[in-house]
């Protein structure tokens, strides 16, 4: 019946600017690496490679989780398009 959101199943990727993997993908990969390493089927070279890759992913994930300020932008539309300005709402915590 209703033809919803024709043709677009997901938002387009923003392209090369976002080289970083998505958090959930990095986390899933890290879990896979830990399982692989724990399976004991790797030779030394592979084990060390897996370890290095895993540590890098863990660091990436932790970095994304580190406590940082909430960023709040206010979207404004003018004649020449939209602009975003930082919005200060007074911390109420």
């Amino acid at each position: 019946m209703a033809a919803r959101r024709a043709g677009s199943d997901a938002k387009p990727e923003t392209g090369s600017a976002e080289a970083q993997p998505r958090f959930e993908d990095a986390l899933a990969k890290l879990e896979a690496l830990v399982h692989k390493l724990e399976s004991g089927e790797l030779d030394l070279e592979q084990a060390l490679g897996t370890f290095e890759e895993g540590v890098a992913l863990a660091k990436l994930c932790s970095g994304r989780l580190e406590t940082a300020e909430l960023r709040i932008q206010k979207l404004e539309a003018g004649a020449s398009g939209t602009v975003e300005r930082a919005l200060a709402l007074g911390d109420d915590d």
């Binding site: 990727e13 994304r64 206010k74 979207l75 915590d93």
Partner: protein, 406 residues
């Protein structure tokens, strides 16, 4: 254009069209947009879809027209006698010199009428499939940016941001400040929705507003807004009103939250839990790698100990050999003497101990065929086990039928 004619007193004499045009300008300037509440009468819908009716109360009446574009979007079926609230501009219908209201919006007044309009629009959109589960899209695990359409006045935005800050502190929010109640607020909401939807870094959009009466929340039942939510490519969370207030936006959205705080919990994961999970994975990674390295170090050490220069090993061996040979011959002599003495003693007992002697008395010796173990207990040979029974003369190969414990 001819010169304006004047009468004897110098007062200009107007043509009819001029008069009407002047009147129009005056009406526009003096009134601008008006909102009028009244009862619908003499309603007529023209073939192209324009609506014509009178708007009246006990003492007065004004003609109203609503052209097709506006009329097709009102989301309910006006009828004679219905109490409505209209919004529009005053104009003069030149051909008849008649005052008329040209309406841009029309909605039913009063809770009962609103409720009826709500049910009607709900049924219509449901029939079109707008609320079907198959159209619901999953929310991202962790959106890069969160779009928020709400009023930056009031408690709602604070509640939402506070919950976000607590749950996932490094979130990024893009706010579109919109009125969330009152005439025409839905236009601002739709506008923000479109703008945020067009931004690919905004991966989820939250529509938020506090609770209120059906009338307060009416903007979130506007067909245009409901369709805009439906057509957006970004997943949308509707956090309108309280638990008990349902609006059509809630039904069409990809997820519904009863409160702004609940909406925050829907759009971002709990950072504290994730930190724990990542830490645990990193620990396992390090522990396992350490174990691998330690094991390897042990093996290396063992190998190193075994690694001796061949020449040195040869010399050592020769030396050892000489020693051993001397010790061996000395020992052999001693051993031979001892053995001779023992042999004499043993010979007598040997006959008695020999299993052959025992077998001769009618005993059998049972062995497991698989490994040659002597069977002393029934449970050593479960059913099906192949066994060998040695008798005084000859052997039996047998298979265990049953294994009975005493």
């Amino acid at each position: 254009m001819r010169d304006p004619a004047t009468d004897a007193d110098g007062v200009p004499i107007l043509g009819v069209s001029e008069l009407v045009e002047l009147l129009r300008g005056t009406l526009r300037d003096a009134f601008g947009e008006v909102r009028v509440e009244g009862e619908v009468a003499s309603l007529f819908r023209s073939r192209p879809g324009h609506l014509y009716f009178d708007l009246k109360d006990d003492a007065a009446l004004v003609r109203a027209v609503m052209f097709r574009a506006a009329a097709s979007a009102i989301g309910f079926e006006p009828r004679d006698g219905m109490l409505v609230q209209a919004r529009g501009r005053l104009d003069v219908y030149a051909e008849r010199g008649a005052l008329q209201l040209v309406l841009s919006e029309l909605r039913p007044c009063g809770e009962g009428a609103l409720r009826a309009a709500f049910e009607k629009l709900k049924a219509k959109l449901a029939a079109e499939g707008l609320f079907d589960d198959e159209h619901k899209r999953p929310l991202p695990f962790l959106p890069r940016r969160i779009g928020l359409v709400t009023s930056i006045q009031g408690a709602v935005i604070h509640d939402f941001l506070r919950a976000l800050r607590r749950r996932f502190p490094s979130s990024e929010v893009v706010v579109w400040d919109a009125r969330v109640q009152g005439e025409g607020a839905w236009r601002e909401i739709v506008r923000g929705l479109h703008l945020l939807d067009a931004d690919p870094t905004v991966e989820v959009i939250v529509l938020a507003r506090g609770g209120g009466s059906l009338e307060d929340l009416w903007n979130f039942n506007r067909e245009e807004l409901v369709r805009a939510v439906f057509e957006a490519t970004t997943p949308i969370v509707s956090a309108i009103g309280h638990e008990s207030d349902w609006v059509l936006c809630d039904l069409v959205a990809d997820a519904r939250a009863a409160t702004p705080t609940a909406a925050a919990a829907l759009v971002v994961p709990d950072a504290a839990q994730l930190v724990q999970r990542v830490d645990e994975l990193e620990l396992r990674l390090t522990t396992r790698t350490r174990a691998i390295l330690r094991e390897l170090a042990h093996r290396l050490e063992a190998l190193r100990r075994g690694l001796v220069h061949p020449a040195r090993r040869l010399a050592e061996s020769a030396l050892r050999l000489r020693e051993q040979r001397q010790r061996l011959s000395a020992a052999a002599v001693r051993a031979l003497e001892r053995a001779g003495a023992r042999l004499a003693g043993l010979a007598g007992r040997l006959d008695a101990l020999s299993p052959l002697a025992v077998l001769a008395r009618g005993f059998g010796l049972a062995f497991r065929e698989s490994d040659g173990a002597i069977l002393r207990e029934a449970r050593q040979a479960p059913p099906g086990e192949a066994i060998l029974v040695r008798l005084a003369r000859g052997r039996l190969r047998a298979t265990v039928r049953e294994s009975l414990e005493d």
